[in-house]
C-alpha cells in the first residue's frame, strides 16, 4: 500500500514553490513558478528511473516502463498550475498522487504489464490563458496546436511564448502517446462528500460548462451634472445582468444551475465618471446539456434586457463550451471496485469542476477519483484536504491503475 506520509511530504514541498500570504499558492501556468514545480517533479521521477517527454503544447509525459513496452500505457495525472490565489491540492494532488503510485511500485520492484504514464497537463486552470484544460483539449483534438499556442494572457503574451521562456516547449507531436486508460485523482472542490461523511467520490462524469466574454458599451460622462435618465451607464447594465443571473440560479431548487461572474473590468475607471465600457466574464454550468442550452438562452435574453434598461449596447462572445461528459463504464467500475475493496463510504457523483479528464475521456477510457476538501472550499488559499484522505484517494488510484494495467 502507498506511503501516505511520503505523499504528504511531497505535497508540502511543492507548496513551497510560489507560496502566497495566506498559506496558498500562486503558480500561474507557464510562469517561472510553474516551471520550478515541474522541474522538482522531474527530479523526483528521474530518481526512480522514469523517462519523460514534452509535447508541443507543454504537456509532460513521465513514463514508468511495463513488461510490454509496445502496449498503450495506463495513465494518471492532472496539473501543477494554480489560480492567482489558489490552494495546495487542486491539480497537485493528482500529479503527486501519481508520483506516489510510481514510488510505491518502485519500492516493491513491481513491473506492470502495460507501461504507466504520469501526465502534467499545461494550463488547466484557464486563469492565465482561457479556456481551462486547453492543453488536454489540444491533446484530445478539441483545439488545434496553432490556436492553442497563439492564445494570449492579459499582458498579450502567447502560450507559445510562455512555453519557450519557461523551458517547456517540447517537440513530441500533440496526441502522442495514445493511452489505454486515464484515471485522475482530485479534491472534490465542493462540499458534497464532506457533508455526507463520505471519503471517496467515484466520478461518473462532469457537468457542462460555457464561458462568455460580455462587453457593455455605454457612454462615459460626468457623475455630477449628468441626469440619471440620460445616462448610458455600462456598469449599471452589468450589475443588472449579474443580479438577474444570481436570482435565476438561486431560484433553481434542484441546485443544478450554476452561474458565476468572475472578472469585471471598467475601462478608464474613475470615481466621478459614469462607466462607459465594462467587460464581464460569465461562467454557466449544468449537469444536463439541454438545461445548459436553456440557461444560455435565458442569459442572452437577460443580457439584452439589461442593456436596454440602461441604454447600453451589449454583445457577447462564447469563448468556450465543454459539453456534459459521461466517463467510461469500465473505468468507473475499476474505481468503484478499488474503493469498495477498501471498505470506505463513497458515492458515485458528477464533477462540478472541469478537469483534464474531460478532454482525455474523448480519446481514452477515463474516470476520476474525488476526495473531500475542507468546507468544500477550493480556488482559495484556504483549500485543505487531510493527509488521510489524500492517502486514501491515492490508494484507490493505485489499485484502479494496477487492475487496468495488468488486466
Amino acid at each position: 500500500s502507498i506511503d501516505g506520509q511520503r505523499l504528504w511530504s511531497t505535497l508540502m514541498a511543492m507548496a513551497e514553490i510560489g507560496p502566497t500570504a495566506n498559506g496558498g499558492n500562486c503558480r500561474l501556468a507557464l510562469t517561472p513558478e510553474d516551471a520550478a514545480g515541474r522541474r522538482l517533479l522531474l527530479d523526483w521521477c528521474e530518481a526512480i528511473g522514469c523517462t519523460w517527454r514534452v509535447d508541443q503544447v507543454g504537456n509532460l509525459f513521465i513514463r514508468r516502463e511495463g513488461r510490454h513496452s509496445d502496449l498503450a500505457p495506463v495513465a494518471t495525472g492532472s496539473h501543477l498550475d494554480t489560480q492567482p490565489k489558489g490552494g495546495r491540492f487542486d491539480g497537485i494532488l493528482g500529479v503527486l498522487g501519481g508520483l506516489e503510485v510510481f514510488r510505491c511500485l518502485h519500492d516493491r520492484g513491481i513491473v506492470t504489464e502495460r507501461p504507466l504514464e504520469l501526465v502534467v497537463w499545461t494550463n488547466e486552470e484557464g486563469s492565465r490563458f482561457a479556456p481551462a484544460m486547453v492543453a488536454s483539449g489540444t491533446y484530445a483534438g478539441e483545439f488545434s496546436v496553432d490556436d492553442t499556442l497563439s492564445r494570449r494572457d492579459a499582458d498579450g503574451v502567447t502560450l507559445g511564448e510562455a512555453l519557450e521562456s519557461c523551458g517547456f516547449a517540447g517537440d513530441m507531436p500533440v496526441g502522442e502517446p495514445r493511452l489505454d486508460g486515464f484515471f485522475e485523482l482530485h479534491i472534490e472542490q465542493g462540499p458534497v462528500l464532506e457533508e455526507a461523511g463520505e471519503s471517496v467520490g467515484v466520478v461518473t462524469g462532469v457537468q457542462g460548462m460555457r464561458w462568455f466574454d460580455v462587453t457593455f458599451s455605454g457612454q462615459s460622462a460626468h457623475a455630477g451634472p449628468t441626469p440619471m435618465r440620460l445616462r448610458h451607464d455600462a456598469l449599471a447594465a452589468a450589475a443588472r445582468l449579474i443580479d438577474r443571473l444570481q436570482v435565476h440560479a438561486l431560484s433553481d431548487t434542484s441546485g443544478a444551475t450554476k452561474v458565476t461572474c468572475g472578472c469585471l473590468d471598467i475601462t478608464a475607471a474613475s470615481r466621478n465618471v459614469i462607466p462607459g465600457e465594462v467587460h464581464l466574464t460569465v461562467d454557466l454550468r449544468h449537469v444536463v446539456e439541454a438545461e445548459l442550452d436553456a440557461l444560455q438562452s435565458w442569459f442572452e435574453c437577460e443580457m439584452a434586457a439589461a442593456g436596454e434598461a440602461f441604454g447600453v449596447a451589449v454583445s457577447q462572445q462564447r469563448i468556450w463550451a465543454s459539453p456534459v461528459v459521461e466517463f467510461a463504464p469500465e473505468c468507473i467500475a475499476a474505481v468503484e471496485a478499488a474503493t469498495q475493496a477498501l471498505g470506505v463510504r463513497y458515492r458515485r457523483m458528477m464533477s462540478g469542476a472541469g478537469h483534464d479528464a474531460v478532454y482525455v475521456s474523448r480519446v481514452a477510457p477515463t474516470s476520476m477519483i474525488f476526495i473531500p476538501c475542507r468546507d468544500g472550499i477550493s480556488h482559495n488559499e484556504a483549500e485543505y484536504a487531510t493527509p488521510e484522505h489524500c492517502a486514501l484517494g491515492t490508494q484507490v488510484l493505485c489499485d484502479a491503475m494496477l487492475a487496468r494495467a495488468n488486466r
Copy 2:
C-alpha cells in the same frame, strides 16, 4: 472685448499635451503631462509680464499687478488636470479664459484698481488622488497641508512626492494670498443649457456630494462545484447594491438624486473563481443637504441588505463630503449683470459638478459662469464646447472681474 480666436488657439495648443486616441486628453494630476501644461501656461503669462508663486500643495498663483498692490486681488482660475480619458475643456477653459482676460487687458494697457490673480488649483479631478478639489480645499482650510501631501494614488505615490518629482512643490504658505473675490468659468458638463438653447449659466451654487469606499468581503471558491446557496459572492452583493442604487435614483422624478459607481475591483479575479473580495466606489449627490442625508441613510441600509442577501460582510468608509454650496450674492449679481449686458439667453442654475469654487467660496466671495457643452458630455474624450461659447463665457468673466476689481 476679448479675442475668441486667440483663446481657441491656446485651448488647442494645451490639448496637444497628453492627447488620447479619440481626441481627448490625459493629464492626470502632477504627472509629467500636467507639469508640461503648467509650464506652457507660465511661458504665456511671463510673456505679458505676470509674476507667479506656488504654494505648498502646488496651487499656482499668477499675478497681474493692479494700481493698489496692497489690496486683496480679484481672482479667477480652475484646473489643468484631467480624467484618465478626459476632455479638452473641463478646467482648462477656466484657466485659459483667465489667461485671455489678462492678455486682453495687457493689449490695451489697462491697469485695474485691485491686482488680478489667475489660479491653477492642484488635483481638482480627484481621479489620481481622492478627493476632488483637494488643493483648493486645503487653501480654504478644509484639509490640513500634511493630510493633503500624504494622500496616495493607486500606486502608493503620495501627493507630496508627486509634487516634488514634477517640479511644482512650492513654499508659499497655503491660504495665501487672501482673495477679494473669485470667479470660475467652466463648461456646464451637463445638458441643461444646450437643451434650453441658452448660452450662459449664472451659477448660484453647487450640489452636495459624498464619496464612499465600500468593501465586500465574501469567500472565494470554485465556480463549478460550489452550490449557489452556499456561496459568499462579493460581486453578487456589489451588483445588487449598484442595481438598487440605480433603481432608487431613477425613481426620483425630480431628477435631483444622483448616484454613480465609478470603480469596481475584484481581488485576484479569475473567470472560474467566485469573487471573494470587491472594492466599490460610490458617489452620491443632491442639491438639498437633508435629501443627501436621507440618500446616504438609504444607501447604508441597501448596502447592508445586499451583503445579507449574499452572505457577504460589507463595510463603508465615507472619504469625502462636500456640502451644498450657495455662492455670494454680490458675485452672482456681477456675473448676471455682465451676462445681461451682452444680451444673451441665460439661466441661474446650480452646478452638478464640484469645482474649486466650492472651497474658495468659504474664504472669498465667489461665483461661477457656465457655458454649454455638446450633448452635455464631459469626463469623456468627446467633450466639446464651441469657440463662440468659449469666447462668450470669457467675455462675461472679463466683465465681471473688471467690475469687481475696479468697484
